[in-house]
């Protein structure tokens, strides 16, 4: 489904990604691990299309479609979703209103008719229940005054509403206590299907106990230096990264 081919990316003229290759098939869960500064978050930004990162080489292809030249919103319409490490706050814009806008923009881009208000509300309630979101959060300004855990839950809730093909979870476990982590992971697992894929970016192995990856990749200094099955994550937890970095 997703092919990342030899991606080189830099920010402020400093090269961060130095040739990343990664292929993800529908129905798979991939995890990217690595020490701080390895380029993990840069990878998610580059796939999402953040213009602060300059891609000098390589392609990103989703379902045979070239994403590299598309803007972030166009990529989102194609099915790319990022659960951000630090979700922003938007004062005065309610969560419901925000998601409604996002859903209808996506439907518009895909040439689908506007979702009837009734159907939208039904979906909103179902997904909120899945994430054990209190209804009152829906009418509050997006992420404003939310705790770290609430923000992360809201990210996965939006993922549920937007039904992406590829979900990138960027350090979703940071700032979550164990109970919130379980809720978030359950949400992600419930949304997993044979038609979509998940890319988990994490520093720690803990999240991978709950969202079990099919493949684990180690990112270091802008390159994937090792790939393996889920047991690689456990090995990293035990030994750290030093044995891989010579």
């Amino acid at each position: 489904m997703l092919q990342i081919k030899n991606i080189h990316a830099s920010v402020n003229n400093k090269e961060i990604l130095k040739g990343i290759n990664l292929a993800i098939k529908a129905g798979e869960v991939h995890a990217i691990m690595g020490p701080n500064g390895a380029g993990k978050s840069t990878l998610s930004s580059v796939v999402a299309g953040n213009e602060n990162f300059e891609v000098s080489q390589g392609n990103i292809v989703l379902d045979g479609e070239e994403l590299t030249e598309l803007s972030a919103d166009q990529r989102a319409h194609k099915g790319v979703f990022v659960s951000f490490q630090y979700p922003v706050e938007i004062p005065g814009v309610s969560t419901t209103n925000f998601i409604k806008t996002a859903v209808s923009e996506k439907r518009k881009a895909l040439g689908l008719p506007e979702l009837a208000a009734k159907d939208f509300l039904k979906m909103l309630r179902e997904k909120a229940a899945l994430l054990q979101m209190d209804q009152k959060f829906l009418s509050r300004s997006l992420n404003e005054g939310f705790s770290g855990g609430e923000k992360k839950r809201n990210e996965i809730f939006q993922m549920a509403m937007l039904e992406p093909k590829l979900a990138i979870l960027d350090e979703t476990d940071s700032g979550l206590d164990i109970d919130a982590l379980k809720v978030v992971a359950n949400g992600v697992n419930a949304l997993k299907s044979k038609d979509n894929a998940v890319l988990v970016i994490t520093h720690y192995q803990r999240l991978l106990d709950y969202i079990v990856p099919d493949f684990v990749h180690v990112l270091h200094d802008g390159k994937i230096i090792k790939s393996g099955g889920k047991e690689l994550a456990l090995e990293l937890e035990e030994k750290g990264y030093d044995w891989l970095i010579k």
Binding site: A72, D73, A76, I90, T101, A102, E105
Partner: protein, 482 residues
């Protein structure tokens, strides 16, 4: 341009003596440009006004002549040439409309663009509309329903004829002829406007609404609005303005006076969308408006202003909180783009005991525009337990615009409690990217963020106006971010 003198007038009176005065053979019934006492007299005569009204206008004109155009506001513009303005203009042909559908198609087009076509308006069963096209009222609806409750809602010219005692008693009491340069000019030459009286204890059952529009090129608009809410009554009044594109600057100097007697409440909402000039700053309306209300005991006046139009705006809807326990509110959102300049705000004058005021002012600047908030909160010596809360927030888009805040806070009573807060910030790139990632394009994202920023003010508008206001905000920020 040639000045219209008293001599000219005399000559005209000799040559063209018939019922409607002058120039009715010309397609647009319009005075030649220029102003002097004879023009004021002629205008008053034309409107068949009683002598007291003519005298009042003349007094105002003499005051105006002794005044200088103010220049303290944070705006730059070419001062209007008052001799190059025509002080009276009626629509091209006097339409006698049986239904609103017969109104000028041009007018309907403008309304349609905003999604508030007259046809739609008509269907909005609860809105009575007194349309002021240029200077003469062309259609009034719902008069009957209102009349049953004893509510008077009519053009002020009609009120001068039909209800002289009310007009005489209240006109110029809140905004005297001497108040300022533009108020004096308006007092001398106002052509028409709305008059509204709500009797004691009556709650007006519908939103009263007026649409103003500047139609004739080069015609100054001098509207006069007088709203009187008698003891224990309530009224919500909506005012909306649109104007088609123009090349030359047009002057608009309206006066609005609100009187809330004991226990009464007036809610006055404005959506202002006059032509702001093109992207190079040429053309556009000058909007120099004096709006003020007085609150008697236990009464309340609430101003809600949504402004996206005009090249230069100069406007400070104010409340004189004279009665004990009276309440003044001001909610405003001003959006400026391209070369627009806005210097707006409010004055809250606390005179009575336990008076309260709230000011929420939101400014959005884009393009090369300048957006200023100027406000005064004054607590008089004898105003015990007065309270004020003010919040002024500015949002900047692009690095060529400016946002400025000039609040004046004056307290002379130790029991006063005043809180003023102001912030300035920009739309964050991270906010835009977050929206983009969720599939919302940048333009939509800005609209969303600006709407969120303006929410506290938009929420104060009546429902049907809120929709229109939201659209206006989006239209006026179109193309502001590349």
């Amino acid at each position: 341009m040639k000045k219209y003198t008293e001599e000219d007038l005399k000559e005209d009176l000799v040559n063209q003596e018939y019922e409607y005065g002058f120039y009715s053979d010309i397609e647009a019934d319009k005075f030649p440009n220029g102003i002097d006492e004879s023009v004021v007299i002629a205008l008053s005569k034309k409107k068949n006004e009683p002598q007291w009204m003519t005298d009042w206008r003349l007094e105002a004109f003499r005051i105006w002549k002794s005044m200088e155009e103010p220049d303290w506001a944070n705006v730059n513009y070419e001062k209007p040439d008052f001799q190059a303005i025509s002080y009276y203009s009626a629509p091209k042909s006097k339409p006698k409309l049986n239904s609103l559908d017969e109104a000028d198609p041009e007018l309907l087009k403008t309304f349609e663009k905003l999604g508030i076509s007259l046809a739609e308006q008509k269907r909005l069963a609860n809105v009575a509309i007194d349309i002021v096209m240029d200077s003469v009222s062309v259609a009034t609806t719902f008069k009957k329903t209102l009349a049953e409750k004893g509510i008077i809602f009519c053009p002020i010219s009609e009120a001068i004829q039909e209800h002289p005692e009310l007009v005489k008693k209240y006109l110029g009491t809140i905004v005297p002829q001497t108040d300022n340069f533009y108020a004096a000019l308006n007092s001398a030459v106002f052509t028409d406007g709305s008059f509204c009286y709500i009797p004691k204890g009556v709650r007006c059952p519908m939103e009263l609404s007026t649409y103003f529009r500047i139609n004739e090129g080069g015609t100054g608009q001098f509207e006069r609005t007088l709203v009187i809410a008698d003891e224990g009554s309530y009224v919500s009044y909506l005012e909306g303005c649109t104007a088609p594109a123009r090349d030359e600057n047009q002057l608009h100097a309206a006066v609005v006076e609100l009187i809330a007697l004991d226990d009464a409440e007036i809610k006055y909402s404005t959506v202002q969308n006059w032509y702001p000039g093109d992207e190079n700053g040429s053309g556009g309306v000058y909007n120099f408006v004096t709006k003020r209300g007085i609150c008697h005991t236990n009464s309340k006046i609430s101003w809600t202003q949504v402004e996206t139009g005009s090249a230069v705006t100069w406007k400070y809807p104010s409340c004189v909180l004279k009665g004990d326990n009276s309440v003044g509110e001001f909610y405003s959102i001003a959006v400026t783009n391209n070369h627009q300049q806005a210097d707006t705000g409010t004055k809250m004058l606390h005179i009575g005991n336990n008076t309260r005021s709230t000011i929420i002012s939101k400014g959005v600047s884009a393009g090369k525009s300048q957006n200023s908030y100027r406000g005064l909160v004054k607590i008089n010596k004898n105003a015990k337990n007065a309270r004020n809360f003010s919040q002024c927030d500015s949002l900047l888009m692009g690095d060529l615009c400016g946002a400025h805040t000039f609040p004046y806070i004056e307290a002379s009573n130790s029991s006063a409690q005043i809180e003023h807060e102001a912030t300035t910030s920009k739309i964050g790139e991270d906010q835009l990217f977050y929206c983009n990632q969720r599939g919302i394009d940048t333009e939509r994202a800005i609209a969303l963020i600006v709407n969120g920023f303006s929410k506290e003010v938009l929420n104060k508008l009546p429902m049907e106006f809120a929709v229109e206001a939201r659209k206006l905000l989006e239209i006026s920020l179109e193309g502001s971010v590349g």
